[in-house]
Symmetry: C2
Subunit: 338 residues, 2 copies
């Protein structure tokens, strides 16, 4: 098959590779209905997290089960499934505690920017729909695999409740879907921090009540000004840099909640600053598996339309242009047709 391989920073190609095959009896092979490019794929693409050797890219996926290993019990060929970027047995203590992305047998998915992908721990990782969904639902179902699940975790980990005042740091696809998630959880006021008009517009459509264009300390001051000097109940940090983290902690009220869902790059938190900020802090790789059944139901029932974050659709063969468009911020998120 022809699939996506990153050779080195900036050098991404759609090229001939071996078809994936069952390796373990707990594996499944999924024929993708669509795939996409993640903001986190840009770290190696930009050389910030360099690759040592040619790497098969992609960890967001949905599609039809093609083949299952001999020990797979709950799935059969022909079913439509979505899985998380982190595989999980869904039975270990960490999974039972709802942290499937820290499953004791976790692996991180790769190779999903392709027509077929091998999914380890298929029983615990994949969630099937009763019926193959209408083609029009595929983008939104694909979004549940990571970007919505991650935005949802951001809102959940920041304790968003009916009536909450929320700020979202980051206007990438995760940040935008964190806005949607906070809205679904009943937040009353949702402040999206964005200075890019097409993204701010989508944030408003997803439920943002306010847009703040200032960043860093200015952004913090603007939020404090909007909240009587107190800060917001919940800040959803969807970037993963030192500046965005500092901004998030500064914008939360005393006793408020800060979540962080992007892998932090060179972030150091000063113990004493955090101590006197008096915030709750929670984050990590989103346990998307915990949320998948609920999120897939919301999509199939038409309650939410997270697939709207895909503002560029390309055939898989043009994956390089998809990366470029996201790198240059011409696109929020690229869907790849396979």
């Amino acid at each position: 098959m022809r699939a996506t391989v990153l050779h080195k920073a900036g050098d991404i190609r759609c090229e001939e590779v071996a078809d994936p095959t069952l390796i373990l009896p707990t594996d499944a092979i999924v024929r993708l209905s669509a795939t996409c490019i993640c903001g986190s794929d840009l770290w190696p693409y930009r050389g910030i997290a360099p690759v040592d050797s040619p790497t098969h890219m992609g960890h967001e996926y949905c599609g039809i089960v093609e083949e299952v290993g001999s020990e797979v019990r709950s799935l059969k060929p022909g079913q439509f499934v979505v899985g998380s970027f982190a595989t999980s047995d869904n039975t270990c203590p960490n999974c039972r505690n709802g942290y499937q992305s820290s499953c004791q047998h976790r692996t991180f998915m790769t190779g999903a920017q392709a027509p077929f992908v091998r999914v380890p721990l298929a029983d615990g990782t994949l969630v099937a729909l009763d019926e193959v969904p209408d083609r029009s639902l595929v983008p939104s179902l694909l979004a549940t695999s990571d970007v919505l699940g991650t935005g949802w975790f951001a809102a959940d980990a920041a304790n968003v409740k009916p009536g909450s005042t929320v700020a979202v740091v980051g206007d990438g696809a995760v940040g935008l879907l964190a806005v949607l998630s906070a809205k679904q959880m009943g937040a009353e006021r949702i402040i999206a921090m964005s200075r890019h008009e097409p993204r701010a517009r989508l944030a408003r459509e997803f439920g943002a009540t306010d847009i703040v264009t200032e960043r860093g300390q200015e952004g913090v001051e603007r939020i404090l000004e909007m909240t009587g000097g107190i800060g917001v109940d919940s800040v959803l940090e969807c970037v993963g840099t030192q500046e965005s983290m500092r901004q998030a902690i500064g914008a939360a009220r005393r006793g408020g909640y800060v979540s962080y869902v992007g892998v932090p790059h060179d972030v150091q938190l000063d113990g004493q600053q955090l101590f006197f900020a008096h915030v709750h802090l929670h984050g990590g790789p989103a346990p998307v598996r915990r949320y998948l059944p609920d999120l897939m139901r919301r999509v199939t029932e038409g309650t939410i339309d997270p697939g709207r974050v895909f503002d560029l659709t390309l055939p898989l063969a043009e994956v390089a242009e998809g990366y470029r468009a996201m790198d240059e911020r011409r696109a929020i998120k690229t869907l790849l047709e396979v």
Copy 2:
């Protein structure tokens, strides 16, 4: 009056100072029934947080209201009161959110190792009993002022619930009372990390089910071994150093809770380590005022006896020996009779 003054590291004296007087109309003067030395007093005593000029020490207090300012509404002379180390108006948004130790008008108490102390924001800071308590209850009521309130916050901030598995890092008075607090909150298993037998014994009496003598990475490995490789639900970090914080984060299960209640000294948290540890983190100066009515009731009803952490009692005139005994770990906590 004769009160406690720190002149420089190691040089603590009981000497003649001016009696405190009402400065603001919201102040009260309290005649102390007893006072004590806090583990945090050792930071300036040891020169780790040096003082610039002679400093009146002491921030834990209970006693009889001697005099109130013209705007004090809820208190009158003769009442027995306890207050927190942090003053609060108990009406600002941070107070209403339960974070009185981040009150918008907060000051930190000082000068309480003395026969009399001035308490700012008396209405919001002090909690009165209906009657003057029996003398025998004074040590435990004094403990609610900081060391129990802080241990209680450690347990609350780490989400201790009936059935929880808990580890407590630190066997100072706060750590020991964090054990007592976790027990009161219904924890099923409480692992105290201590290598000092008199402290470990008191920890057991307060409710510890297990004692771990290993520290640092060895301590983490011991806790993991005891919990099937998973870690505990809640870790209560009651020290405030880089090592204790790393130990606390390492001992928690994925999705577990880590609280920290001692001012962190030179602690830096690595964002990426914290991200993959997948813990909830919460701490800061304990909002003791939130808990005081409940804790004082538990003491007067005889449910708890936190005053047992005082294993040395001295007259105020011998305060220097009290500091020395705690500095050399000969005493857990020194009560000063005034």
